[in-house]
Amino acid sequence: MPKIIIDGHTIECRSGIPVLQAALEAGLAVPHYCYHPGLSVVASCRLCLMEMKMPNPKTGQMDWAPKLFPSCQTPVRDGLEVRFRSDPVRENQQHVMEYYLLNHPLDCPVCDKAGECYLQDYTEANGPATSRMVEDKTKNPKKDIGPHTLLYQDRCVLCSRCVRFCDEIAGTGELAVVGRGSRCEIDVLPGQPLENPLQGNVVDLCPVGALLDKGFLFKQRVWLLRSARSVSPADSRGQTIWIDYNEAGIHRIRPRYNEKINEWWISDEARFGWKHVHRPDRLRQPRIRQGVALQPARWEELPGLLRAPFAGVAACASPAGPGGGARLAQPPSLLGRGQGEGQGIGPLAAVLSPMLTCEEAWLLAKLARSLAPQATLVLGHVPVSGHDQTYPNGFTIKAEKCPNRRGVETILQHLGGPTASFQEFLAQAVEGRFRAAYVTGGYPDAWVTDPVAAALARIPFLVVHDLFPSALDGAAAVQIPGAAWTEREGTFMNCDGLLQPFERALPPLEGVKADGQFFYELLGQPGLFRAQTVRETMAAELPQFSEVFIPRDLPKRAH
């Protein structure tokens, strides 16, 4: 690892990185706009300039060179000596900041970016906040450049990050710098808007308030938001995200750097895939079938209501009686002679949705097997849409639109015994092999197709644990409202077997219990469900769960 000297301090840094990156990683606050570690280096903003020691041609001695150098374009090399704390460097920063403010409107009070804007920050730290220019500022209209994005042209500092992102990462090249010199603007060719599946990233990239997200526009001031470390359920790759939220709910999702998966970016599916959490039709109360209708029930009744019929089905000794009955008070009446018996398939099934966390899937599987050692464990419906899409720099959007198929599979494999794919389960259900089933959903979109509903309707005692009403409502004996992933904690195992934890952002909706907590209670465990504690018990049996991957944090002053 090369050692370089910055402002008299020797620091050790990764080789092959620019001095600017090394300085940021060492915790220094070096202003910069155009440099982004994920994009090509253009050295156009001139904010990151530094002084550098070079051999003086006259004396041959190492001396401070008379001109400044862009630290973003100077690779580190052993023994390099540079300084940022010097008058020429400070003066350059002041001049450049004053230049940036020449035409920039001072409209921070109505700008979404205020509070996380690097023009604000750098002006406060380095530059004069007032301008000596008395002439009129250039005033440009806003541009509607895409379905999600507005461009406030007059706030742009022309760092060209957004343009490079579209060229290098998305590979779609919708954005361009048009015009020349002080007339430069960012634009699209009219009629060819910014609408690639990664478009949302340009808003995060923009160091000022020029590119803004239409969905977030004028909704919140950023200093009123808190951020939770989460993992996106949008696809099976496990993109890591920040959920920005407050007591009013979620307001936006931003990428959380992840050197192994999504780096600095996320797909639009991950970014905008949280709206269902606040859908008004979410299930908010457990309900049980009484007569024909589902009637509200209390959470406290559920363990008793569920355990008894399940245990009864499992025991499966007595002959069949007619189904139904008041308040499910006679569990044995639900029993029939399981037709699957003798073929190794228990009459009880637990469908583990790939939307569940590993811990939840584990608890539910354990629960099913504790009630019936021959219970069939089923990997729930795995939504797939289209094909995997890979972008020029390797960013991939998976066709599999769920976060934890691999985690559930790992658990099923480990537990062994009767297991089934969702298709096999449906086929067996149609044949009437199951007397009782616990089905988990949790998908953001409607997933119960007619064949699914028809097959599940054949199960006499059907428990549906899901987010939204569906065609299963008519067949369910018990309906349990699920919590969205933002309201739970746990781990997802991505398609490559990487186990990533995420934290809870919001409390579960009023009237709803977090899935893990509920399974915990069903299992008769005392106290609160803690994902980590459960994971530790899992790890004792299954080494795959002993280590989680947590991406490293970005340097504080980097952006």
């Binding site: 209209p141 541009k143 450049i145 042209q153 007059d154 699209v188 009219p190 009629g191 060819q192 808007p193």
Partner: protein, 192 residues
């Protein structure tokens, strides 16, 4: 002006303007072997397109992008970098007036006022009869003859406001120094 929003997502059919015909496209293709990449053909292609259409229409930009396998915005980027390329239709004759220091010192400002008064148009506008368009340019590289202006390809030197009447009807205005290069054709007669 951020209270105003302009729509860049859609482009109406009538705003796309004329497209390139097959002969023009073929001409552009004939340049491919001369350059290491198709992208590198963009500049000659723009000259050819502007010679054919009088300007680079949105439709032409799209077609060029397709021809050269570039994102359309990359064509827009280059077109707008050079003031030589027009992005809207022009009159029959284009006047390019120098606005740089030497010409300004030698009375270029008065020439500009005179011109705008006579034609009744501003920069990048076209007279209603479709005869004249005009623009200013940073330096025509003829500072020794300041103030100066170009009409099409004819350079008028040492122009004073009083000379405008004479200059505008100068038959030399239509003169082209051909062949400018064996690679290019003469610009087509442009119709507004």
């Amino acid at each position: 002006m951020s209270w105003r929003t302009i729509d860049r997502r859609t482009a109406a059919e009538q705003d796309l303007g004329p497209g390139l015909n097959d002969a023009v496209k073929e001409k552009i293709r004939s340049f491919f072997p001369r350059y290491p990449t198709k992208r590198a053909v963009l500049l000659p292609a723009l000259h050819i397109a502007q010679d054919a259409l009088g300007y680079i229409s949105l439709r032409a930009m799209r077609e060029l992008a397709e021809l050269l396998e570039l994102p359309p915005s990359a064509v827009l980027d280059v077109v707008t970098f050079y003031t030589h390329f027009w992005t809207h239709s022009r009159g029959r004759k284009t006047i390019v007036l120098c606005r740089s220091l030497t010409c300004e010192l030698m009375g270029g400002g008065r020439v500009r006022e005179g011109l705008e008064q006579r034609l009744g148009i501003g920069e990048h506008e076209t007279t209603p009869d479709g005869q004249w368009s005009y623009m200013t340019e940073e330096c025509l590289a003829a500072c020794e003859h300041a103030p100066c202006l170009l009409i099409n390809e004819k350079l008028h030197k040492g122009v004073q406001a009083e000379d405008l009447d004479r200059i505008l009807v100068d038959p030399e205005n239509d003169h082209l120094d051909m062949p400018r290069s064996t690679l290019f054709d003469a610009p087509a007669e442009t119709k507004p």
